[in-house]
């Protein structure tokens, strides 16, 4: 079963068979505007929940991307090096940024469900 969880900084994490894939939400991608560059993390990088994972740039903005879970980066979406626009086209699917081997799935308790995230975003407007 694939469950997706969300952070206050607009990252999402999908857990499938023990692997967590991570990206930014549609909302964040719209806020950023046309993505021009994604600074992918190094494979092997160890991250803490809510610590710096990656960075993303658009024409007018630059943003840090924070890890939704602690763990180790096992894969990065190299395609984004040549086609960063995929983040705009499919932020929550093909625009994934990295895979993390989670250190402690109990950390999911610190994240939001889809419903909670949607409500959170409504509150921001």
């Amino acid at each position: 079963m694939t469950e997706t969880y969300y952070t206050k900084e607009h990252e999402w994490v999908k857990i499938k068979e023990g692997v967590a894939s991570v990206g930014i939400t549609e909302y964040a991608a719209v806020q950023l505007g046309d993505v021009t560059f994604v600074e992918l993390p190094q494979v092997g990088k160890v991250v803490r929940q809510f610590g710096e994972l990656a960075a993303i740039e658009s024409v007018k903005a630059a943003s840090d991307i924070y890890a939704p879970l602690s763990g180790k980066v096992t894969r990065v979406n190299e395609v984004l090096n040549d086609r960063p626009e995929i983040v705009n086209e499919a932020a929550e699917d093909a625009g994934w940024i990295a895979w993390i081997e989670p250190a402690d799935l109990a950390e999911l308790a610190n994240l939001m469900t889809r419903e909670q995230y949607d409500q959170y975003v409504r509150g921001l407007a």
Binding site: T36, S58, V59
Partner: protein
């Protein structure tokens, strides 16, 4: 319009060079460059047409009203160019040769006297003219602060800035190895003093302030802020970008600032040059003098000027020579011409002009801080946003009407910000014409937003695809 390379024809000659009066000489083959660099090959007439026509694609202070907030686009007196020309032939190394200072007395005197004038204007004890730009001055200033703390054995980690600060403030502090603490602006338009108190600790090296701030507002608690900083063993840094508002009225040195920089290309009327060169002299209080960049210009007892190079505590050098000398000459000339009464008139007129524009536009645009402003005022296009019109659309429409737009989207704390700084050199008719078009734009936002969204349509190009530029990174012709 074609690039100059596209106009080139192989074999077309350039300017004729002087004939050699010495024999030709060989240069080893293995050290020669492969092929001559593919520089343009155009006749002088084509060269002149190219750049003359290019220049006509620019708006400039000399052709258009240019109310860019935070940039102080005042009139650049033509005589300043003549003044700089007088010092063009002098070689900087002359002053550094043994017996050379004698041949640089005039050049050194100007540096020293400019430093004295700037020190008096800002209330500081000594000024270095070495920094080559405002941001360069900020970096130099923070380095001076870091050196001061090091000499005292302080362990400092942070620099505090308000969230309204110009990006160069945190960027400069980061270059010197500090972490940044940002303090929010309160609803009354100044840095929230309670949150500032909480953010302060004994680990803070410096607090960087702009006054008036980037909203154009004067913070009446500025001395208190400096006192709080000093209580924690931090030094205070004044970003002089908005000095035009307070010339002759307030001096940062009197208020409690330890280090300041001034922007000669803003306050002191030197031209912006399309983005540079500028100059960012730094002023300090006595305690920081030993750390100033080397060399320093000194006046000896006999009235002669010399370069002091034996400065064991100096942070070193921040530029190759003495600063952007040509720019320094222009600022010196500007100050001499203005004199005391002229500089006071500058700030009074600058503040009057900005308040005039603010009072006439406030019915038409949201004014986030409805209080007397100083030399610039910040509106928000949030009212127009309800019709789908952004600050950028207002800006682009102004271009079609012959005005350079005000600064937009800065400061970051105001949504759809429009920052207007007319400066003291504009006439009422010019400002009235601008006000009329701004009012028109507000009306069009309601009635015909698409017109604004389509603009500009009268320029050689319309809105550009900035995403394509960033993704393709074509920065030089193949």
């Amino acid at each position: 319009m074609e690039l100059i390379y596209e106009k080139s024809v192989a074999g077309r000659g350039g300017v004729r060079l002087p004939a050699p009066d010495v024999p030709e000489s060989g240069f080893p083959e293995e050290l020669r460059r492969g092929e001559a660099a593919a520089l343009p090959e155009v006749s002088e007439l084509d060269l002149v047409r190219h750049f003359t026509n290019l220049s006509r694609r620019n708006f400039s202070v000399d052709t258009n009203f240019y109310p860019l907030g935070s940039c102080t686009m005042k009139y650049n007196a033509k005589v300043l160019e003549s003044a700089a020309g007088l010092f063009a032939p002098f070689h900087p190394m002359t002053a550094l040769l043994p017996g050379g200072e004698e041949h640089a007395q005039g050049s050194l005197a100007l540096l020293f006297q400019l430093g004295e004038l700037l020190a008096e204007i800002t209330g500081m004890d000594e000024v270095t003219t070495q920094p080559l730009a405002g941001a360069h001055g900020e970096m130099t200033g923070i380095m001076l602060i870091a050196a001061w703390h090091r000499a005292k054995g302080h362990r400092k980690k942070y620099v505090v800035v308000p969230d309204s600060s110009h990006g160069t403030n945190p960027a400069s502090a980061a270059m010197v190895g500090y972490e940044i603490i940002t303090v929010p602006t309160a609803p009354y338009g100044d840095m929230d003093i309670e949150l500032f108190r909480q953010a302060m600790s004994d680990e803070v090296a410096a607090v960087m302030m702009t006054c008036p701030n980037t909203l154009g507002l004067f913070n009446p608690h500025i001395r208190e802020i400096c006192d709080i900083a000093h209580e924690h063993g931090a030094l205070t840094y004044y970003d002089g970008a908005n000095l035009n508002a307070i010339l002759g009225k307030v001096r940062p040195g009197d208020v409690g600032f330890d280090v300041i920089h001034v922007n000669l290309h803003k306050t002191f009327g030197t031209p912006h040059g399309g983005g540079g060169p500028g100059a960012g002299p730094v002023g300090v209080k006595k305690g920081l003098i030993p750390f100033l960049p080397a060399p320093r210009v000194v006046r000896e007892k006999d009235g002669c000027y010399a370069l002091e190079t034996d400065l064991p505590h100096s942070i070193g050098r921040t530029a190759n020579f003495f600063g952007n000398y040509g720019v320094l000459v222009k600022a010196f000339a500007y100050i001499l011409m203005q004199g005391r009464e002229g500089l006071i008139r500058v700030s009074e007129q600058a503040v009057l002009n900005a308040n005039y524009i603010m009072s006439r536009l406030k019915g038409h645009y949201d004014l986030p801080y409805d209080q007397t402003c100083m030399h610039e005022c910040v509106f928000s296009a949030s009212r127009q946003l309800k019709h789908g019109v952004h600050a950028i659309d207002i800006a682009k429409y102004l271009i079609d009407r012959g005005f350079h737009p005000p600064t937009v989207y800065f400061p970051l704390i105001v949504r759809e910000a429009i920052m207007i700084e007319p400066t003291e050199t504009e006439s009422k008719e010019t400002m009235d014409a601008f006000i009329d078009v701004m009012i028109e734009a507000a009306e069009l936002a309601e009635k015909e937003p698409e017109l604004l969204q389509r603009s500009p349509v009268t320029m050689p190009i319309s809105r550009l695809d900035e995403t394509k530029a960033a993704r393709e990174q074509n920065v030089c012709l193949g």
